[in-house]
Amino acid sequence: MTTPTAPDSMYRNDEGLGIWEHRGKVAAVGVGHGPTSRRWDGRAETCVGAITIDALRKAIDDAGVAPDQIDGLVVVPVTTTGAFWEAGKPLPMDVIQSFNQTDDPLDGIAKLSAEWLLANMPELTNVQFTMYGPGCMSNALNVTAQAVGDGLTHTCLVVKSWHNFEGRYYQGGANAGNAIPGTPAITQLWGGPASYSTALQFAEYCRRYGKTHEMMAPFMENSRRNGLRFPEGYWAQHRPEELIPEDYLASRWIAKPANLFDNDIPIMMSGAYLFSTAERAQDMKQKPVYILNHASSNTRPRSLLPTLDEVEADTARTGRKIYEGAGISADDLSFENMYDGFSLFHQFHLEGLGYRGIKFGEALDFYQTDISIEGPNPVSPSGGNVGSGRSRVWMHTDCIQQLQGRAGARQVTGVKPEVGVSGGPMPLGGNYTVWSASPD
């Protein structure tokens, strides 16, 4: 079986599509996470393939289904955090030989194929549908929801995992060389780090609306606070430290105005979910969480970097698509879990959604109010990547668990959890899911 990449037709990129045809007919039930770690320690049991199997088995167990009931698997094949297996570096043969391999020896170590997972999960005897949702979990969730709704699979696992190796982030490969090819040179020769583009959008935002970087501090503090209540998160597991405003504001710059904490920490982790039809989900162990819509943005900037005008136009368009397909309005959102890695663009997502009625230029003022899980306006109750490390998964897990009423210490108490939204990553170019406690 060769796994195809999801076709463009599976994503809902356009406005005017109306209510999603499978609204309320697809549900998420099971959740599973592998352990987090800062970097791979070289052991077979901690490689990205192993932690992925762990996450998938936990999701299956959490949903309470027998493995042979599962007929679908959606995978994000790219697992790098920005760390790559250097050309010429000896392969870890002991690790490779610990698993059933595909024809790529780095499968399960620096990437992940559906074939590798199926070869190493013999209990998945009835998987007939596999597909790649490249990018991040947000993409894969859109693909999974559409696949279940379309009847391509009825009980489907979806997984996103990350590997992280020794060495500085993005500092190997071409960046370490004395020369680079001419086409990438046009964008990369000047040496901007990964957060540079977001930093510039934030700088323009501050100039236009008279805001400051200091105004981010309550959001950062709140996100870490929520993240420390996420037992599977990196900070909760390894460094249970609050992030107070003084420490946030005193941290070193990466690309001013983005500082160290504005850049999510790269980690190893895996997150998995089990999706099914709303009908089948009724018989599973956890309460179903219904998908009201999925929406995507494939907008690209005109030139090198998105301008603030481009960002605001596209986040507003994304908000309209999200609401149109779900048949809801901003007033129906109990909470939001939009992406935050990098932290300096979370406000763009909020303003595009019009969350709690905020308009362009108002989100940083909103951060100065009560945005806690105990209040009436919870912001990022998952804590996101700021609160638990780079996964692009926490936001989705939190939506499911909040609506199931099993978010534990993160459970929102200031609002009744009925509808949530999550997704990202970037303000231009992202994938979003609307979750609901009810199919209606």
Binding site: G177, I180, L189, G191, P193, A203, R252, W253, A255, S303
Partner: protein, 137 residues
């Protein structure tokens, strides 16, 4: 600041050849008469079969935005940290952006909105690279 050397490839060869002649050229779609940068194999706005050309531009622009890089992933630039990294909008088409280290401008004292003009600086392998300097009043 000495940037990494550049090894022109088929797509970018005209851009870098022009730079070595101290000319700034930007890819243009003949069909929709629209500049695009970075270059691509096809027009990003009209059909994929559209004819593309390289168009010389004035070499004048405006500083649109900037950040200060303190933690650069490119090894050759790390000894120059922190440094300005600005985005220039071309006068010929403000939708077209180019990067600049703004040689001569003190770190974090970038005059956003100021007029700039293109200059050409040698990279590590001698290939000339477009850079920008502030036009004094």
């Amino acid at each position: 600041m000495t940037k990494q050397g550049v090894e022109p490839d088929s797509l970018s060869q005209p851009f870098w050849d022009a730079a070595n002649e101290k000319r700034l050229v930007i890819q243009n779609c003949v069909d929709c008469d629209r500049l695009q940068h970075p270059p691509s194999d096809s027009c990003r706005d009209c059909d994929e079969g559209a004819e593309l050309e390289w168009k010389q531009v004035s070499g004048r622009g405006t500083i649109y935005n900037y950040g200060v890089v303190h933690d650069c992933p490119v090894r050759l630039l790390q000894e120059d940290q922190p440094f300005n990294l600005a985005v220039i909008m071309l006068d010929d088409d403000p939708g077209i952006q180019m990067y600049s280290h703004l040689p001569g401008v003190p770190v974090d004292e970038v005059p956003v909105g100021a007029a700039v003009e293109v200059i050409f600086e040698p990279s590590a392998n001698g290939q000339l690279v477009p850079e920008w300097r502030v036009i004094e009043d």
